[in-house]
Structure formats: structure tokens, C-alpha cells
């Protein structure tokens, strides 16, 4: 018989982040999809488009989050046609919540909805396991987020600029990747504001190095052995 430990938070592989700034939002994620201990995809894109102005960060079961985003994209498309103008971030988040809540027994999906609309500007909504919807100035999710609560408590500030917000997101995902085995690969960011959408890509070599991490090199031979002064004989 399964014993549910009610105190163990049901966390899900990945690190996802959504941050509001003065004029829009920045969404960020790692790129590792794991199948047990095997890395099935080391360059996945976990930031998925719902509409031109609203994107979704996905954590949890890849299958569950893909199907939820497909349904929400489908509904939002029809909603946009009927409304005659872009959907608001709140409506998109509400649809995500509807699916997450009504199928709570079957889904394993921790989601962050972020975007920009002309009525409310940049907005971030968290939809964790269970289907709660919660508007936040910033949101973190996935297993890697455990390592970021303290970081954001200290580093988050109201009214950041676009560049400050993106640097914060990249730094945070990078820190989570350093400690969370289920997060890794590259850091992807998506910036959404009045002007439009910008996608950025930060491979490992363009990320800062943290504690006990070393600068990558092509080979040992570059710094040690024949190319250098030659290996020292051992002394007894």
C-alpha cells in the first residue's frame, strides 16, 4: 500500500521562473527533460506560446503539460477570434487553472503563466499542483525552485528594468541548475512587453561559475603534461 507523506512537497523536475518588471515580464527555464536518471532531452523548450502575448512555463509531467497547453492554445485562439482583440493574461491563466483544477486527480503539472496585455501590463500567474491560481510579482516552480526561495527573498526588488529582470532570471536558473540534478542544459528566456516578444538562449559557457565549478577547457593536455613542462616524476 502506498503511504502518502503529507509533508513531502510533490516537486517536479525542472526550474521555471516568471518575473514582472517595469513594462512587462521575463520568463525563464532550464532545458532538461529527465526520464528517471536518464536525460531524454538536454535542449527542451519549456516556455511555450499560448498566444502572441501570453506564454506558459511548464514543469511536471511533460505529457500532461503539453496537452494542457495545447487545449489552452486552442480555446484562446477561438476566444481571440470572438473577442476581436488579443486575450488578456488573466483569461489565459483562468483557462489553465480550469483544466488544472478539474483534472487535479490525474495531472502532475506545475505551471507559470506570463504575458503582457494593454489593460494590465505585464502579469505573472502561478498555477501549482492542485489548480490554485495566484497572481504574483514573481513566481518560481519545479524541483530547482527549492534552491531559489532564499535567493529571491534577498535579490528580488520591485520596479526593475528589463535588463535587470533578465539578468536576475538567468542568474537564478543558473544557480538552480548548479544544485538540482533534475535541472540542466541551457537557460532560455522569453521577454514579453508592449513591443512584442524576444527569445534568448544562454548556453553553459555563457553562464557564471558558482562554488566548486571550474572553467571548462578543451583538454587536460592544455594545462598539464607534455605540452607544459612535462609530468613530474613521483618522489618516494
Amino acid at each position: 500500500m502506498e503511504k502518502f507523506d503529507l509533508d513531502a512537497p510533490h516537486s517536479t523536475g525542472t526550474t521555471i521562473i516568471g518575473v514582472t518588471y517595469n513594462g512587462g515580464v521575463v520568463l525563464g527555464a532550464d532545458s532538461r527533460t529527465s526520464n528517471g536518471v536518464y536525460v531524454a532531452n538536454r535542449a527542451s523548450d519549456k516556455i511555450t506560446k499560448l498566444t502572441d502575448n501570453v506564454y506558459l512555463c511548464r514543469s511536471g509531467s511533460a505529457a500532461d503539460t503539453q496537452i494542457v497547453s495545447d487545449y489552452v492554445r486552442y480555446f484562446l485562439h477561438q476566444h481571440t477570434i470572438q473577442l476581436g482583440q488579443p486575450a488578456t493574461v488573466k483569461v489565459a491563466a483562468s483557462l489553465v487553472r480550469l483544466l488544472a483544477y478539474n483534472n487535479k486527480d490525474m495531472l502532475q503539472a506545475g505551471l507559470i503563466v506570463g504575458g503582457w496585455d494593454k489593460y494590465n501590463g505585464g502579469k505573472i500567474y502561478g498555477v501549482p499542483l492542485g489548480g490554485t491560481i495566484i497572481e504574483q510579482p514573481f513566481a518560481i516552480g519545479g524541483s530547482g525552485s527549492s534552491y531559489l526561495y532564499g535567493f529571491f527573498d534577498q535579490a528580488w526588488k520591485e520596479g526593475m528594468t528589463k535588463d535587470e529582470a533578465e539578468q536576475l532570471v538567468v542568474k537564478a536558473v543558473s544557480l538552480a541548475i548548479a544544485r538540482d540534478g533534475a535541472s540542466g542544459g541551457v537557460v532560455r528566456t522569453v521577454i514579453i512587453n508592449e513591443e512584442g516578444v524576444t527569445r534568448n538562449f544562454y548556453p553553459g559557457d555563457r553562464l557564471p561559475l558558482w562554488h566548486e565549478e571550474l572553467e571548462p577547457q578543451n583538454s587536460l593536455l592544455d594545462t598539464w603534461g607534455a605540452a607544459a613542462t612535462g609530468p613530474e616524476p613521483m618522489s618516494m
Binding site: M1, E2, K3, F4, D5, L6, D7, A8, P9, H10, Y101, K104, D105, G126, P128, L129, G130, G131, T132, I133, I134, Q136, S146, Y149
Partner: protein, 243 residues
Amino acid sequence: MDLIQIRGGNLVGHESDSQRTQYPYVTGTSVIGIKYKDGILIAADMGGSYGSTIRYKSVERIKPIGKHSLLGASGEISDFQEILRNLDELILYDNMWDDGNTLGPKEVHNYLTRMMYNRRNKFNPLWNSLVLGGVKNGQKYLGTVSMIGVHYEDNHVATGFGNHLAKPILRDEWHEDLSFEDGVRLLEKCMRVLLYRDRSAVNKLQIAKLTEEGVTVSPPYALKTHWEFNSFKNPTAGAEGSW
């Protein structure tokens, strides 16, 4: 002889029945409610816990319902949000009748009780403990409903840890016709104890007031705590290695 089994904190039916169960994810802790001279006071902190992590610290767990009632909830936040949606619809239809009659707290409490009990009978509960308070035509009302449909009214109610820590204080110090200030101070005394002793409590709370005139929910604020005791500064004096 069939008994309902409670395994690992979940409600699980008899093996031969179709299984329907649930598991709370984002939860709120205690809610406390009291009657006072002019109406009702309800207090709750703004924490949303995710297992042992204090994940959300700005969750509003007390909401006005119509003109005459206040609803506070502990337990699964997504289920509380769904209950609010259902009550929205209820109040909307009530207004649409436009017949001069409005749903009072007694009616809302009854609706909530039916909702909770019927879900419990299907082994698919709304995982909440609710506090419903209100004033209508000068009559004060304060009731509670649990996730299995247990419901009652009283002069003071509490959910979760509040049952164990706040109720004894309320039994001792509550009296008829409390002033607003005394009522708030009494609730703050209870909330402070919960802050010290409930692991899921956060130091950011709201107190809501409901009178014949209407509803006010206070802005979020934090309580001062007291740590300056000699036995706290030197707990192991004379007993090294103890706690």
C-alpha cells in the same frame, strides 16, 4: 462490518467501492472567528504552505460574501477558490431575483454545509475547514463547516491548530459584548500563540470586521513577538547538553 478506512491521511473507501480520494497541495492554516458587540471578527494569516515549504505569503483567506457574510477558510486553497466561485453564482442569482430578499449568513452556512457533506458522501471532499460569519437585521451569526460536513454555530470558532491552541484562550476570555478593541486584542493574542507554536503559520495576517453597516478586511500586518526571557537566553544553564 464495513468501516471507513483512513490510510495515510487520505479518505479511502472500502476496497470494493470505486476509489475516489484527494490529496491537499497548497494549504492554509488556522482561522479564528468571534462574535463581539457590533458583529463578527475573523482572523487568519496569509500563508499558503506547500507541504513543509511556506510557498506563498500573500494569500487572502478571508473573503466577503454578498453584503452580510464573511468566509474564512483553511485547507486546500484551490478548493477554497472553487467554493468562492460557487458562492459568487449563488449571490448573483440572489441579486437577480430582485425581490427585496437577500441571502443571510444562516442561508450561506447551510448551503456550504450541503456542499461539503455531499462531496464527502462521494469520497471526494473539498479539503477545507470553513468559518462563516455574518450580521443580518441586527442578528449576529457565526458558524463553521468541516471537510466532512460537521457544522455548528457558536460564539467563537476556530479551525486546524486553532482548535487546540486558540479555543482554550477563547473559552477563558471571551464574553458577551466585547468591544472592537478587546475583540481585536483577543484575536491577536490567539494569533500570536499560533505564530509561536504552529509550524505553518506566517507573520502576516488580516483581521476582518463585519457589522450591520458592512464588511472591512484590514490591510496585511505583522505581530510583534517576545523572545527576551532568561530561560531562552540560557536554556541549558545547569544542564549542559539538554534542550
